[in-house]
């Protein structure tokens, strides 16, 4: 029934595309995995060293192998971004004037110029995005939504002592995730109701803008429904004595174990290494060593 699937939004809501292989990576504490992912993102942005980024890429690939996640699964998330990525990389290579001032020209034809610096910037951009995408895939394939919320809640809890609204943040994340299936269901209901009265949600050949415009009539009712749902949820929370995060206890307690410490320590080491390689300009050193010895 291809017709029915047009409205089945619930099936498409996949935050966390969990792939239960039962590996070591899956059994890690979600806090450890969150920390490592956070660290990975920071280092990938900060480090300018191709050698450092290659090390990170190897580490992420090793993680995928240990987690027994097929590479084509992990790459699937990268595919929709690929056109944008290539466009951005081309812009870096050809269109940023700063990269051509005082740099060695490698290739030149008409108005197009490639310098060593611009080429490096393009390669770095693709490397950064690929590592991040693979790392996030590794995380989301090996962590359930529940583990994710537990992890966030436990990680931010210490911030409460700094008088930051840590509990509120965790609750907002939790309720947002809780509301996704509800809103998907409501949207499905609204779409069916409107379609039964002749609304067309853009089957056939329409471009992205046209299809988006067709969804506009859904927005206002969906907004109203969300507000009503939120009202009801607040009432239910108050009826169960919710008076803010003060003095709350917790049913779930995450228990960190030795592998969690090992993984976080390893990630810290790797991160320091990648940043150090970038600081000492390791790429240039390697390049000059190679060109003088070969």
């Amino acid at each position: 029934m291809p017709m029915a699937s047009e409205f089945e939004l619930l099936g498409r809501v996949t935050i966390g595309q969990y792939l239960p292989t039962g590996s070591l990576v899956h059994s890690l504490d979600p806090r450890a995995k969150l920390l490592v992912v956070l660290l990975l993102i920071i280092v990938v942005i900060v480090s300018n060293s191709l050698i450092g980024l290659s090390l990170l890429l190897l580490a992420v690939l090793a993680g995928l192998a240990v987690a027994r996640i097929p590479l084509r699964f992990a790459l699937a998330g990268l595919r929709p971004m690929l056109p944008f990525l290539i466009l951005l990389a081309l812009l870096q290579v050809f269109a940023i004037p700063q990269y051509s001032i005082g740099a060695t020209v490698i290739w030149h034809r008409g108005i197009l110029t490639i310098t060593d610096r611009s080429l490096l910037a393009g390669i770095l951009l693709i490397a950064r995005f690929s590592i991040m995408a693979l790392g996030l895939s590794l995380f989301s394939f090996s962590t359930t939504t529940t583990e994710l919320t537990h992890g966030i809640e436990h990680l931010v809890r210490p911030l409460q002592t700094l008088r930051l609204p840590a509990h509120e943040f965790a609750l907002v994340v939790n309720i947002a995730i809780r509301f996704l299936p509800i809103l998907a269901e409501e949207t499905e209901r609204l779409m069916k109701a409107q379609a039964s009265r002749g609304a067309d949600f853009g089957r056939g050949r329409r471009n992205f803008v046209q299809r988006t415009r067709l969804l506009l009539p859904l927005l206002v009712p969906l907004f109203l429904v969300s507000l009503r749902r939120a009202d009801q949820l607040i009432e239910a929370m108050e009826a169960r004595c919710y008076l803010g995060g003060k003095g709350r206890t917790h049913l779930i307690r995450l228990q960190e174990r030795l592998p969690d410490y090992v993984v976080v320590a390893g990630a810290l080491g790797l991160a320091t290494g990648a940043i150090y390689l970038s600081r000492v300009n390791a790429d240039r050193l390697l390049w000059s060593w190679l060109s003088s010895h070969l």
Binding site: Q232, A236, A239, C241, Y242, G247, R253
Partner: protein, 290 residues
């Protein structure tokens, strides 16, 4: 504490007006006096807009009276220092199954109430396990809450209230959105809880459900219209019709039969009673047909 003397719920001169003090003021409750004792099973009937939900929301301080007072186990609901006491004494189950579930996992949703109370970890776990087994959802404790059926979600809501160890449960049309099986299982659960001493106040449009209770309170336009045992209330068919309410089908049938057959009882409430009466009338010993 003189808890033995004090009724569980005492309402005196309760008035409530939505948007009070503005030009859009809507009076919802106009002078309610009511006492409900511990262990009672009470049904709250009334047409849409008669004030059932508004009254229930006063019983756990979700709403505070515009005038008059509500005491729960001796605590005035206006007294903010006893807010937690009031809300743990009286648990509430709402009409819409989905929007009263806070957590994404069944057992964590049950824990939400006691977590708010600051119950220590060991006892928390005990309370959650007990509440889930009471509503017979123990096997589903690690399930994602949005994957439950509507009936299971309502029983989860009951478990969430039970985990706070309340003395009274309020059901605000809790069966309205359930299919027959879900409704029957929910009513069974509530029936067991009542047998174990729980006070239950249930707003409902379902007359068969109201016939199961010990006392019926009928609201009309924010005032108490009728009050009494189900048998006494449902005998006043014309009065109920004037209040836009129905009577249970067995009662209607019994009344039709008694108008045509001499000596057939008119004041029957349930299918069981009706079957017994018919069997007696046909001259067979009651229960022999089973």
């Amino acid at each position: 504490m003189d808890g033995a003397e004090e009724p569980l719920i005492r309402i005196e001169g309760l008035h409530y007006t939505y948007q009070a003090g503005t030009h859009r003021a809507v009076p919802a409750l106009c002078g309610i006096d009511l006492t409900i004792h511990a262990g009672e099973y009470v049904a709250l009937l009334g047409a849409n807009g008669s004030g059932k939900s508004t009254l229930l929301r006063h019983l756990n301080a979700l709403l505070l009276p515009t005038a008059g007072n509500v005491w729960i186990a001796g605590w005035n609901t206006r007294d903010a220092t006893h807010l937690r006491n009031v809300r743990t004494t009286v648990g509430m189950v709402f009409q819409v199954p989905d929007s009263q579930i806070v957590a994404t996992v069944v057992e964590e949703d049950v824990a939400f109430g006691p977590e708010n109370l600051g119950i220590p970890e060991d006892e928390l776990r005990q309370r959650v396990d007990w509440a889930l087994s009471t509503v017979r959802l123990s096997e589903l404790q690690h399930r994602a809450s949005h994957l439950l059926s509507a009936g299971q979600k309502q029983r989860l809501a009951i478990a969430g209230a039970l985990a706070m160890h309340p003395r009274c449960l309020l059901l605000d049309e809790a069966t309205a959105m359930l299919d027959p099986v879900g409704r029957r299982q929910l009513l069974e659960t509530v029936g067991h809880l009542h047998q174990d001493g729980m006070t239950v106040v249930a707003a409902t449009h379902n007359m068969a459900e109201a016939a199961l209770t010990q006392r019926i309170i009928v609201l009309s336009e924010g005032q108490l219209a009728l009050q009494g045992e189900p048998r006494a209330i449902f005998s006043q068919i014309e009065t109920l019709r004037a209040l836009h309410l129905d009577v249970p089908h067995p009662t209607l049938l019994a009344r039709e039969l008694s108008a045509r057959v001499d000596g057939f009882p008119a004041d029957l409430l349930t299918i069981g009673e009706l079957a017994d009466a018919v069997a007696t009338y046909l001259g067979e010993p009651a229960g022999a047909a089973i």
